[in-house]
């Protein structure tokens, strides 16, 4: 443990938030004698606060030092006034353009999960109008240079929006390749026709899937939903809907079963990605969830290594070049249709090459860099051999054969789909709450909630600060405009040598 005030070796300084009043506070990020990383800060009103960010200072420093590929937003909608994170829109200081636009289409939800990290409202629920959604799409196309090919519809529970399929159709018609519905799966499990329609429209699903154990499921989602999730997955598989599973890792509740969840996902042909979130303590329920559940990014990676028995190791993950390196870690695996263990890309491609191949997008796409890296990987495997080289080469050859069949050329979008089916991705995404908030990470965020007027707010800032202000999502919206914090309004803490 660490005392609340300046102890340990300072790794860097940043701006965080008070966990009580959410005013901006200067914070020191320090390493203690045990090699752990802690954030320390003191609020004049609410006293000293500390939270552990990582169990390894070495990993934290090494990861934080990775230089992401920063591309600033094309359109700035807010001048810097109070300082990060109070000027979102984005502000002129935001360093990263949007790679994952998120559109909150409803405040209504048919669950009340103990880990829910947003505020929802069922009475007098907000449902985004068609015109507003059309404006969001227009802004996404215009303000982002026409390059965004992904949009995430969320809520609440987006499937309770009366027109969510229309929104899906609109986005697809606007040329968005990946339109993902973030859902708990209840409506889909009960309505096969809905799944069929969703499949026909080319929609994708991101299904919250926290546990294969009923007790843990109930502890995290507030109900025993496993059978419903399995039914939902059965239908999604039946109609070939590309699916992402989203388990929220919570220490002592479900972190022991992450390997089982991954194995479960690897076996399902339509599950493309597994996006593991670390528990974050924001929103209507998450804010009061026991803090014993807090788990860091590295701990999740280590649990993955332990519980997959080394099938996926910590060093199989690379940071996302499009985001702050402490926010996203990504591993890609080649699927073996014969039932053999999937092969992480880093076993045949050096991590820096995978990192470089990811540099243009949040998802691995058939870019020139990836093609070059794959070709070099194939040559290396062939020339030097090594563990599993024969099987890897055989799987890569099979993949090429599927993408480029001899007897019938596939259009590039179909070839991309075939490639997606032969590969699984595991993302570990660490959201921030007011305790762990770090403006350095916020400024580099590439996931943003998008509004009809074109403004965008990074998702952690949105979840921690902005959503609770909105009438749409709260019967009694909070206020923080009378805060006294702000990045420019304080002096730095003294640095104490460790």
């Amino acid at each position: 443990m660490l005392a609340l005030e300046s102890e340990g070796r300072v790794l860097h300084q940043t701006t965080s938030l008070c966990k009580v009043c959410k005013n901006a506070l200067p914070a020191n990020v320090v390493a203690n004698d045990a090699g752990e990383v802690w954030m320390q800060k003191t609020c004049d009103e609410h006293g000293p606060q500390a939270v552990r960010l990582s169990t390894s200072a070495d990993w934290y420093q090494r990861t934080r030092a990775i230089q992401q590929r920063r591309v600033a937003p094309r359109v700035v909608r807010h001048e810097v006034d109070h300082g990060c994170p109070f000027d979102c829109g984005p502000c002129a200081n935001h360093t990263q353009k949007i790679r994952l636009p998120v559109v909150t289409i409803t405040s209504a939800c048919n669950l009340d999960c103990p880990i829910c990290y947003v505020h929802n409202k069922n009475d007098d629920a907000f449902h985004m109008g068609t015109e507003s959604f059309a404006q969001v799409l227009e802004h996404l196309a215009r303000d982002h240079g026409g390059e965004l090919d992904i949009v995430n519809l969320t809520g609440g529970e987006p499937t309770v929006h009366p027109h969510f399929l229309d929104f899906l159709a609109m986005a697809r018609q606007a040329g968005v390749h990946r339109v993902t519905i973030c859902t708990n799966g209840i409506r889909l499990a009960k309505d096969e026709g809905l799944v069929q329609r969703l499949a026909e429209l080319g929609g994708r699903v991101a299904l919250s899937f926290d546990s294969l154990e009923k007790d843990a499921d109930e502890m995290l989602q507030g109900a025993r939903l496993l059978d419903i999730k399995l039914r939902c997955l059965e239908l999604l598989e039946k109609y070939g809907v590309d699916t992402t599973l989203i388990p929220v890792m919570t220490r002592g509740v479900n972190d022991h079963e992450i390997g089982k969840i991954l194995a479960f996902a690897f076996e399902r042909p339509n599950v493309r990605h597994i996006e593991v979130h670390t528990m974050t303590f924001t929103g209507q329920s998450g804010a009061t969830f026991p803090r014993s559940g807090r788990i860091s990014m590295l701990e999740v990676l280590e649990r993955i290594e332990e519980t997959t028995r080394g099938l996926l190791r910590v060093d199989d993950f690379v940071a996302s070049p499009c985001a702050h390196p402490l926010c996203y870690q990504i591993a890609y695996l080649l699927v073996d249709p014969e039932g053999g263990a999937p092969i992480p890309f880093t076993r045949f491609m050096p991590a820096p090459e995978l990192y470089a191949a990811l540099s243009d997008r949040l998802y691995l796409e058939p870019t020139e860099k990836l093609e070059r890296s794959m070709r070099e990987a194939i040559d290396r495997l062939w020339a030097y051999g090594g563990v599993d080289s024969e099987r890897t080469l055989s799987l890569l050859k099979r993949l090429l054969g599927l993408m480029f069949p001899c007897d019938r050329p596939l259009p590039s979008n179909e070839a991309l789909r075939v490639a997606e089916q032969a590969v699984k991705a595991v993302y570990v995404h660490s959201h921030m709450d007011e305790e762990t908030f770090d403006t350095e990470r916020a400024a580099d965020c590439c996931d943003s909630n998008c509004y009809a007027d074109g403004s965008t707010i990074p998702v952690c800032n949105y979840n921690v600060l902005y959503r609770e202000k909105e009438q749409h999502f709260n019967l009694t919206p909070r206020r923080w405009n009378d805060r006294k914090g702000g990045q420019r309004a304080f002096a730095r803490l003294p640095i104490v040598a460790g």
Binding site: E371, W382, L400
Partner: protein, 258 residues
């Protein structure tokens, strides 16, 4: 009879009036475009295909709409029996064959590290052995008629140093050698043997390559665009018509000046 004594060909529009043309691999892409162009130019058309019955049915309808109902044969061009049966049936139906286009050939994208013996054999068999078998089979009737055209479909990948699967480039290069040697051998019967080497076209490979590969090609191409099958077909109609009375053993590259 000297060429000047031959009856003049009709208008360019009906350049192949009455000609009996066989195209291998005619169910899609360039092969299909050639079949349609031949039909529009007044020819009787037959084509072969290997696997995709649905594509073949569509092609059959399109060729019929372009001019006349084609004869369609399914089989592998590297299967000698299929070749002999196809040519025999055509000779029986038509009396002879005036034009053969050796177009069938798979595009298999593989780096050398993944290219196994079976892949090599398969591409060589289809592209080279298939062209040899069909050429030899039709030559009997062409020699008897003392006229004919054989057109081999190559690729710019055997003419330029570009990224291409080595077995594909090797097979297409072999076709060029075969074209020249065969032109020499059967020229005395007024049989013209030529080769076209298309660049990236708006069908086939260009539609499956990653966008950056197509962009790279276009950046190097003076014409700055992909070729169309129709513009290749227009030239081919001339090449296999009576209007081409003196060009043989030639290689025509259609790559926009790459």
């Amino acid at each position: 009879m000297q060429p000047d004594d031959q009856p003049r060909a009709g208008s360019a529009h009906r350049r192949l009036e009455g000609k009996r043309c066989l195209v291998t691999g005619g169910s899609r892409g360039l092969g299909l475009a050639l079949c349609r162009a031949f039909a529009e130019a007044g020819a009787k058309v037959a084509f072969t295909f290997s696997k995709n019955v649905e594509d073949a049915a569509t092609a059959q309808r399109l060729v019929a709409e372009a001019g006349g109902e084609p004869l369609v044969f399914q089989g592998s061009v590297s299967d000698a029996k299929h070749v002999q049966d196809t040519v025999a049936q055509l000779v029986e139906a038509w009396g002879s064959i005036d034009v053969l286009v050796n177009n069938a050939g798979p595009t298999q994208i593989l780096p050398v590290a993944l290219l196994e013996e079976a892949d090599w054999d398969s591409v060589m068999n289809t592209n080279v052995k298939g062209a040899y078998l069909f050429s030899r089979a039709v030559l009997k009737s062409m020699i008897r008629a003392r006229r004919g055209h054989i057109l081999n479909v190559g690729t710019f990948a055997s003419e330029r140093i570009v990224e291409a699967p080595i077995h594909y480039a090797a097979a297409k290069s072999a076709l060029r050698g075969m074209t020249e040697a065969l032109a020499r051998e059967v020229g005395r019967y007024d049989i013209k043997v030529n080769l076209i080497a298309p660049g990236l076209l708006d069908v086939g490979l260009a539609r499956i390559l990653p966008r950056h590969r197509v962009d790279e090609y276009l950046a190097q191409c003076p014409m700055g665009r992909l070729g169309t099958v129709e513009e290749i077909a227009r030239s081919v109609v001339f090449l296999v018509s009576d209007d081409n009375s003196f060009m043989t053993g030639a290689k025509l590259v259609f790559d926009g000046g790459l």
